[in-house]
C-alpha cells in the first residue's frame, strides 16, 4: 500500500508490480494506492502467500496457487515490524486486484461524481453541527403519500445502522455469508463484478486525497416499503410480507434480473453460474455440513439478496407462538447484528414501542439512504458524528 503522493513521486501506478528490497532481501508485490496511507511509507500485510493452507488459501503440493504474497521474508530479528530504508523498483508488470470497492468507479469522471454523491449517501457531521442542528442528516425529502398505507398486524421489522459506531471491519459481511449459504465466487467472478455478498461495506474517501477522511457504510437490502424490485418481477418472485419484509422466493425466480436492474441500492445478487455446484456434489458431503440447513441453497439463474435473516425471524416467532407469548425485543437477531463488535446494528420490531430499533430510528440523526426516491427503506442509518481530538488534528 502506498499513498497517492508517494506513488506520484515514485511514478508508480495502481496495480504495478514492484520489487521491495531491504537489507539484501526482496519480495515482489503489486501496489495498491490507498489514500490515507502515511506518506513515504509502504504498508505490507503479513499472513498471505501460504503454501500449504488448503483449497482456498493455497496448497502448492496440490497445484493450488497461494493467495497473495508472503512478505515475512522481509522481516528480521532486528526489524520485526518496521524497517527503514527499503527500496522500491518497478518490474514493469501489472496486477489486477479483485476488489469489490472500485466496481462502480469507472473512470475519472465517475470518481469525481462519486465523491460528489458521498455526502448524500453517507451523512456525517461534527459535534458542533450536531449541537446546533441535531437533525442535520435530514435533507428535506418529505414525501406525501398518494394513498394510505394499510395498517398491518404483527411485528414490523426494521434495522438501524449507527455509522458513528461502525468501524468498517467487515465482520457483518462474513457473518452474513456463513449464515445465508452465500457462495464464494472466486477472483475471476469478482473482477467481473459478480460478487455475491448480500451485505457490502461501501468505503469512500472524502476531502483531499493526500489527507483524506474515510467513511464507510454497510449496505444490504433496505427492505423498502415501496420496493421498486417488487413491481417489476414478472413472476411475482419478490413480494412484500405482512411484517414488512421484502421476500425473495428463490424457487419462483426465473432470473429475468429486472428486480436487480430496478434496485436503487444495487444490493441484489444474481447466480450467473452454478456457484454452489462444486459443493452440492455427493462426494462433497462433508463440505455440505457447512451449509445452514435453514436457508435454501440457491442454484444457477436465480436472484438472491439480504432477507433480514428471515429464517431466524420465522423460527423464533414459531417458538414464541408455541409458548403462546409475544416476541421479546431483541429476541430475533440478524447474523450481521450478532457479529458486529461495535454493536452498530440494531434490529427488531418498529411497531413495538420502546424497542431498541424504534428508539434508534427515532433519533434525529436517523436518515434513509436515497430517501428522495420515496421507496421508504426499512433500514435507517444514523449519521456519523465526527469529534476529532483538536490536539491530534493540529499536529497533522
Amino acid at each position: 500500500m502506498l499513498s497517492p503522493a508517494t506513488a506520484r513521486e515514485l511514478d508508480i501506478e495502481h496495480g504495478d508490480v514492484v520489487t521491495i528490497g531491504s537489507d539484501g532481501r526482496s519480495v515482489e508485490a503489486p501496489v495498491y494506492i490507498l489514500p490515507g496511507q502515511a506518506e513515504n511509507s509502504i504498508g505490507l500485510q503479513l499472513g498471505y502467500g501460504r503454501t500449504a493452507a488448503g483449497t482456498v488459501a493455497g496448497h502448492v503440493a496440490h497445484n493450488i496457487d497461494p493467495v497473495g504474497v508472503n512478505v515475512s521474508t522481509l522481516r528480521s530479528i532486528e526489524h520485526m515490524h518496521f524497517e527503514n530504508g527499503v527500496t522500491i523498483t518497478s518490474t514493469g508488470r501489472r496486477h489486477e486486484f479483485a476488489t469489490t470497492q472500485e466496481h462502480f468507479a469507472i473512470d475519472r469522471v465517475g470518481l469525481e461524481e462519486i465523491s460528489g454523491r458521498v455526502g448524500d449517501l453517507v451523512r456525517e457531521g461534527t459535534v458542533d453541527e450536531y449541537a446546533e442542528h441535531p437533525d442535520f442528516a435530514h435533507h428535506g425529502h418529505e414525501e406525501i403519500a398518494l394513498w394510505e398505507q394499510p395498517e398491518q398486524d404483527g411485528p414490523q421489522w426494521g434495522m438501524s445502522i449507527d455509522l458513528s459506531k461502525c468501524i468498517g471491519c467487515n465482520a457483518c459481511v462474513v457473518a452474513c455469508q456463513s449464515e445465508n449459504n452465500i457462495p464464494v465466487v472466486g477472483k475471476e467472478q469478482v473482477l467481473k463484478g459478480r460478487e455475491m455478498h448480500w451485505l457490502r461495506l461501501d468505503r469512500y474517501f472524502t476531502g483531499d486525497m493526500d489527507d483524506p477522511e474515510v467513511v464507510q457504510q454497510p449496505v444490504a437490502c433496505q427492505h423498502c416499503e415501496n420496493a421498486p424490485c417488487e413491481q417489476v418481477c414478472p413472476v411475482a418472485a419478490t413480494v412484500h410480507s405482512d411484517d414488512g419484509l421484502n421476500d425473495m422466493v428463490y424457487n419462483r425466480c426465473i432470473g429475468t434480473r429486472y428486480c436487480a436492474n430496478n434496485c436503487p441500492y444495487k444490493v441484489r445478487r444474481f447466480n450467473f453460474f452454478d456457484y454452489q455446484l462444486p459443493v452440492v456434489q455427493p462426494e462433497q458431503s462433508l463440505k455440505q455440513l457447512a451449509f445452514n440447513p435453514e436457508v435454501t441453497v440457491r442454484s444457477r439463474g436465480v436472484m438472491e439478496k439480504c432477507t433480514y435473516c428471515v429464517q431466524r425471524i420465522r423460527n423464533t416467532s414459531i417458538l414464541a407462538d408455541n409458548d403462546r407469548r409475544p416476541l421479546e425485543d431483541g429476541e430475533v437477531q440478524t447474523a450481521c447484528q450478532q457479529s458486529c463488535p461495535a454493536q452498530a446494528i440494531t434490529f427488531g420490531d418498529l411497531k413495538l414501542s420502546g424497542s431498541e430499533v424504534a428508539t434508534e430510528q427515532s433519533k434525529p440523526r436517523a436518515y434513509g439512504m436515497l430517501d428522495e426516491l420515496n421507496v421508504k427503506p426499512r433500514t435507517k442509518y444514523l449519521a456519523r458524528i465526527r469529534n476529532p481530538n483538536p490536539v491530534l488534528k493540529a499536529t497533522t
Binding site: 467481473k192 459478480r194 414478472p234 411475482a236 426465473i254 436492474n261 444474481f270 453460474f273 439463474g301
Partner: protein, 389 residues
C-alpha cells in the same frame, strides 16, 4: 391473365410519378415476379449464400445450447449491467421488425399505393426480425426451463404472474405483434400463392401452392371477403405498430434506473424503430432489386420515398436524443445528469458518438437528391443507420 395495360397515370395523379416503370401490364408484372421462384435451376450463388447463413444459424443454436447448459455468466453481464447483451439484441430486432407492419398496415390505411411494391418484402423481414427478437427475452432468463411461468395458466402453486411488471406486458405485446404480423403477411399472400399455383407445372408445386392458397379461385366474392379481412386486420395491426415498441420502452421507462426513467421513451422508441426498420428494408431491398431484376417494379421513386421516411425519423430520433439531455439537465437530478455525462465522456463514449453520427448526422445526407437516387450511396447510409442502432 389478360393483357390489360396498367393505368399508370390517372387524371388526378397526373403529377405523381408512375408506380412502376416501363410498359408494364398485369401479366408482365406477374411474369417478372413469378419467374424468380419458377427458375428451373436454383442459382449456385443462392446455395452458397444459404450455406453461409445456415451455418451461422447452426452456430447460433449451438451457442444457445451452451448458454443454457452453462449459465447467463457466459455473457459479460454483471452487477449493475444485468441485461446488457440480450436486451440490446432484443430491442434492435424488435425495432427492425417495425417496418413491415408499418408499411403494410398504416400505409395501407392511408392509401399510399406505392407500398404495394415493397410491402410483402418488408412483412417477410418483419416476421424474421420478430422471431430473432423473440429468442432473446426467452434465453436471457436465468432458468429458461421455467419460462412458461410467464403465462397465466392454472397451476398447483395457485400463482399468477405479476401483471404489474412491464416485462409481462412485453410478453403479451410481442407475441400479439408476431401473431398479427404473420397473419397479415399470409392473408395478403393468398391470391399470389394462387397465381403461383395456377402457373405451376409440376404436380408437387401445384399441390404445395394449392394447399397454402386455400382454394382461392379469384371470384369477386372471394376478393370482397379478402379485402374486407385485410382492411380489418390492417386496422387491428395499426395500434400494434405503436404499442409494441411503446411497451418495449416501458421496460426501461417504468424502471428506476437513471437514464431510463423518462417519459420520452415511448415515442422515441417508436420513431427509432420505424427508422431502423426502414433502414433495414433499404439495406435488403437494393441488393435484392438488383439481383432479382426487379428494377422496374421497385423504382427509384420507392427508394426515394423510403429515404425521406428515414430522414424524417432520423430527425425525430435526433430530437429525442437532445430531449433526453435536456430532461436530464432540467431534472436537477444528479444521478440522471451523471448518466448522460458518462454517456458522452465515459468509457463508452465511442459507442455513443458512433450512434449519434450514424443515426443523426449521416442520414442528413438524404437531404441531397443524389443520395436518394443513387442506390449504392443510399445503402451506404442505411447500413450506417443499422450500425448506429
Amino acid at each position: 391473365m389478360s393483357a390489360v395495360p396498367i393505368p399508370t397515370r390517372t387524371p388526378s395523379e397526373s403529377l405523381r410519378p408512375p408506380l412502376v416503370d416501363g410498359e408494364q401490364t398485369l401479366s408482365s408484372i406477374t411474369e417478372t415476379v413469378c419467374s424468380i421462384v419458377e427458375r428451373p435451376q436454383t442459382p449456385r450463388a443462392w446455395y452458397i449464400a444459404f450455406a453461409i447463413s445456415s451455418s451461422l444459424t447452426l452456430m447460433l443454436f449451438g451457442l444457445i445450447g451452451y448458454l443454457i447448459a452453462t449459465g447467463i455468466g457466459v455473457w459479460g453481464n454483471n452487477s449493475p449491467v444485468f441485461w446488457g447483451w440480450p436486451i440490446v439484441n432484443f430491442v434492435f430486432w424488435v425495432g427492425i421488425g417495425h417496418a413491415g407492419t408499418l408499411i403494410s398496415a398504416i400505409l395501407f390505411l392511408f392509401r399510399q399505393q406505392w407500398r404495394t411494391s415493397i410491402n410483402r418484402f418488408a412483412e417477410a423481414m418483419t416476421i424474421f426480425a420478430v422471431t430473432c427478437a423473440g429468442i432473446f427475452p426467452a434465453i436471457h432468463v436465468g432458468r429458461v426451463w421455467l419460462v412458461y411461468w410467464l403465462a397465466p395458466y392454472p397451476n398447483q402453486m395457485a400463482m399468477w404472474p405479476n401483471f404489474r411488471s412491464p416485462l409481462l406486458w412485453d410478453v403479451f405485446a410481442v407475441s400479439t405483434y408476431a401473431t398479427v404480423s404473420l397473419l397479415f403477411w399470409y392473408l395478403g399472400m393468398i391470391p399470389d400463392l394462387a397465381t403461383l399455383r395456377d402457373r405451376a407445372t409440376s404436380r408437387v408445386r401445384q399441390f404445395a401452392y394449392g394447399l397454402f392458397a386455400l382454394g382461392w379461385t379469384g371470384s369477386a366474392r372471394q376478393w370482397h371477403v379478402l379485402e374486407k379481412a385485410y382492411l380489418l386486420l390492417a386496422a387491428l395491426a395499426t395500434p400494434l405498430v405503436l404499442s409494441v415498441h411503446t411497451i418495449v420502452s416501458f421496460d426501461f421507462a417504468v424502471s428506476h434506473v437513471p437514464g431510463w426513467h423518462t417519459t420520452i421513451f415511448p415515442p422515441y422508441f417508436v420513431a427509432g424503430a420505424v427508422f431502423s426498420g426502414f433502414a433495414m428494408v433499404v439495406t435488403l431491398l437494393v441488393p435484392a432489386r438488383h439481383l432479382f431484376g426487379l428494377k422496374d417494379l421497385i423504382t427509384p421513386r420507392h427508394l426515394d420515398v423510403m429515404c425521406r421516411i428515414i430522414l424524417a425519423t432520423s430527425c425525430m430520433v435526433g430530437y429525442a436524443y437532445a430531449t433526453e439531455f435536456f430532461t436530464a439537465w432540467y431534472s436537477g437530478n444528479r444521478f440522471e445528469q451523471f448518466a448522460f455525462l458518462n454517456r458522452m465522456q465515459g468509457p463508452y463514449a465511442w459507442a455513443y458518438w458512433t450512434m449519434v453520427t450514424c443515426n443523426v448526422l449521416i442520414p442528413q445526407l438524404y437531404w441531397f437528391k443524389r443520395f436518394r437516387t443513387s442506390p449504392w450511396l443510399m445503402v451506404g447510409v442505411a447500413i450506417c443507420v443499422n450500425i448506429g442502432m
